[in-house]
């Protein structure tokens, strides 16, 4: 049984139930129940029309739940006027669910959890494991999120930017537990790109593909970080890179630049370089200038300082770094790197140690500690 196919049908089946009159929360529950039944029944007897099967079973689950909910009269009304899977509304069902699950009234963690369940078709247990929280906690987070959006009508388009932020958060979570969230984020962004024609959706998809293409080379077998310059480029996924670059070029050609397209352009320039030494840092600085203009984010300015350091030398990088607020995460790590390139190993070692103390994850802390130790033990 193709579980990816099964899960890709989730949002449209929810959409059909909602159009037949189910409220979103009940429809979502019913479709989850139907998915569980599909996993059980399909291996022995896979239906010819998987979507039709899911709609039928989910609708029956919904009616059962409504019946047991004492809302008898409501059920009878619904059965009486049960419409056929009707004509599509102006906005595609799947797309509407993306907007609903990323609704601005939801907190980021609630939006992420609801998106993974209602759009991604993951179970509560899978989501809980991926985020390392108890299943009961995740179940509560999801049911609260559903209550929060219960009054939102599924009939008009929302803000694509909020959806992209949610997908980006999922992608950034990477891999923990038995669900590969980065791959899941790519699948959901791909599905979104098929439902809506928007250059920033394409930009985010390209960015994810280009980053994901380098994943195998980014860590050592024991989980240590491998910096970009030291990665084994023969392990990069060239098919994913080619796809990402193709999607990006098509998006850029439309001349509606946005943050994700510009970030993807930086990733594409890295992916395109046969060796670290051949990286086109001058162009990368130009893209960071665009990003500063688009976002004015201190994190972007920090990354720009690294690029300037590569393009124009460490002194220029340190000058660019002076414009960046010192409280920005990874400021000390960047300063350490630029000082090392500039030959000031004592300052670099001190700053690497400082950066290790400020790191927000284990892999980064260990990597920075190693950098400090490397300099401290190399000196006479």
């Amino acid at each position: 049984m193709d579980e990816a196919l099964l899960r890709s049908l989730t949002p449209s089946v929810i959409g059909i139930l909602v159009r037949r009159g189910a409220d979103f929360a009940a429809a979502e529950d019913a479709v989850q129940d139907a998915l569980v039944e599909a996993v059980r029944a399909w291996p022995a007897d896979e239906p010819r029309d998987p979507k039709g099967w899911l709609v039928t079973v989910a609708w029956r689950k919904f009616l059962d739940a409504t019946r047991s909910d004492t809302a008898r009269r409501r059920r009878e009304d619904l059965v009486d006027e049960e419409p056929p899977p009707g004509p599509a509304t102006a906005v595609d069902d799947t797309l509407q669910l993306y907007f609903l699950c990323a609704h601005p009234s939801l907190t980021p963690s609630a939006a992420v959890a609801l998106t993974l369940r209602a759009v991604g078709g993951l179970t509560t247990r899978q989501i809980a494991r991926a985020y390392l929280v108890p299943e009961a906690t995740m179940a509560q987070r999801i049911s609260r999120a559903k209550r929060t959006v219960s009054g939102v009508r599924l009939d008009r388009s929302g803000d694509v930017a909020t959806v992209l932020r949610v997908l980006y958060l999922v992608f950034n979570e990477g891999y923990s537990g038995d669900i590969d969230l980065a791959a899941e984020a790519i699948r959901l962004t791909r599905q979104l790109a098929a439902a809506i024609d928007h250059p920033e959706v394409a930009g985010l998809l390209a960015l994810m593909l280009l980053h994901h293409a380098r994943r195998a080379s980014r860590t050592t077998p024991d989980g240590g970080l491998v910096p970009l310059a030291e990665q084994d480029r023969s392990r990069w996924d060239t098919a994913a890179i080619a796809e990402g670059i193709g999607i990006l070029q098509e998006a850029l050609a439309r001349d509606r630049l946005g943050e994700f397209q510009a970030q993807a352009a930086v990733a594409a320039l890295h992916a395109d370089a046969p060796t670290a030494a051949e990286t086109d840092w001058v162009q990368i600085v130009e893209w960071y200038d665009e990003l500063v203009r688009l976002t004015d984010s201190p994190v972007v300015r920090l990354n720009r300082a690294v690029a300037v350091g590569e393009a124009d030398g460490p002194r220029a990088g340190l000058t660019a770094l002076k414009e960046v607020d010192e409280t920005v995460p990874r400021h000390a790590a960047v300063a350490a790197y630029l000082h090392e390139r500039d030959g000031d190993l004592t300052t670099a070692a001190r700053l690497y140690a400082e950066a290790a103390h400020q790191a927000s994850n284990r892999a980064e802390r260990d990597h920075l500690t190693r950098q400090a130790a490397r300099l401290n033990t190399a000196r006479p």
Binding site: S109, Y131, P134, Q140, I142, R144, Y175, P227, A359, S360
Partner: protein, 135 residues
Amino acid sequence: MAKYLLLKHYRGAPESVNHVPMEKWTQEEITAHIQYMNDFAARLEETGEYVDSQALAPGGTFVRYDGEGRPPVTDGPFAETKDLIAGWMVIDVDSYERALALAGELSAAPGAGGRPIHEWLELRPFLGESPTVTE
């Protein structure tokens, strides 16, 4: 989405405002305190922010390796050790501000006289498991 540890100390934290020790409270005050803690945890479960909570016995032992083929050496507890952890709660929240607010709420648990203890709690962020995509 980040996990934080709320650490409660038997010893080692600055003194709380309402610092009458629990063994001197009335039965009702103890009941009210426990109820407050349970309600707090239940509320966090309901908001989808609860991960774990545990309490530790005050007595502990220090243990260390003592060489190949030898049993581990034990010692302590050391009265002079400044820090003594009483227990913890782990929360998973959207922001540092939210973590601060929850710690403040937990610190307001009632003690002697039914007044808030104003206990000092230590708030510590977890190190994440995996790095973000930034390289």
